[in-house]
């Protein structure tokens, strides 16, 4: 039996957009709009983007990277409050292997004439996902990045 492991981690990203909450929310809710910013990956090739934006609805996107590996995204929407909040669970497969499962919360808050988007991902990374070509980081460098990450999290809290 192979080694089973799970690593849990949470991170937050905030952005301030010069657009109304209605517009920012619509970019997540309308399939044609979401496809424009979500489903393109530079020189990676994307398959069709499927989005059923409703509670219990699903989203699917398969992208092939420059090395021919498929990155497959599958989401299920858990909570939708128009113009205010989206909560969904999503998982990522690398080829046939499930590498992570996450809960994502997107909050839309009015700020001046713009919208602050607060994205929080609570992730469970499965089975020590490792790539053969991984860049070897020194322990110290790893810790420094981690410390910076924690400071960003603290600042965002």
């Amino acid at each position: 039996m192979s080694e089973r492991s799970v690593t849990h981690a949470t991170f937050t990203i905030e952005r301030l957009y010069d657009a109304s909450r209605t517009r920012v929310f619509a970019a997540w809710a309308e399939p044609a709009a979401k496809q424009r910013w979500f489903a393109c990956h530079g020189d990676w090739t994307s398959g069709p983007h499927q989005l059923d934006f409703a509670i219990g609805g699903r989203e699917h996107l398969s992208t092939r990277d420059s090395e021919g590996v498929d990155h497959i995204y599958d989401a299920i929407y858990q909570d939708i409050i128009p113009g205010e909040r989206i909560v969904y669970a999503y998982q990522m497969h690398l080829g046939t292997r499930r590498i992570s499962v996450s809960l994502a919360t997107v909050e839309f808050r009015s700020e001046g004439k713009g919208t602050r988007l607060v994205f929080t991902e609570q992730a469970a990374f499965l089975d020590g996902y490792d790539r053969p070509d991984e860049r070897k980081l020194g322990t110290r460098a790893g810790l420094e990045n981690l410390a910076a990450e924690l400071q960003r999290q603290a600042a965002a809290a």
């Binding site: 039996m1 909570d79 809960l103 499965l126």
Partner: protein
Amino acid sequence: MTDRSVVHATITVERTYRASPKRVFAAWSSKEALLSWGLPGEGWISGYERFDFRVGGNDRSHFGPAGGETYVNDTTYLDIVPDARIVSAGSMTSAGTRLSAGLMTVEFQAAGNGGCHLVMTEQGAFLDGHDLPENHEAGWNEMLDKLGDHLARDQAAA
């Protein structure tokens, strides 16, 4: 517009049981077993409207104190490794109001003397002040104690 808020929290609860990972996993994967231990309080009742324990399957259960508020729990199973791991995503509602959404990871590890160390992690988003991480943590502690009683009864009956 109402005041929206989200509290994110990670809850971890662990237990070591005198039962094999196979038996503890079985108690999480059968509807009958779940109904016998999976309630957070005395005098609570529950039932499954749908039970479908397989990757991609959906469960819907109703539970709550007898004569009191009823909670509806929707779960989708995302990853199942027999006798080792269950990962699911779900949300809870009451009277149409969503209280929380979360990701559950349950790990079953072999412990000494044929026992099982269970590590349960809930990564939750608690919505609009309707629910709190403390409530879930207390509920899980209660349920995992009941799971211990269930396993002891199950062993005695075998």
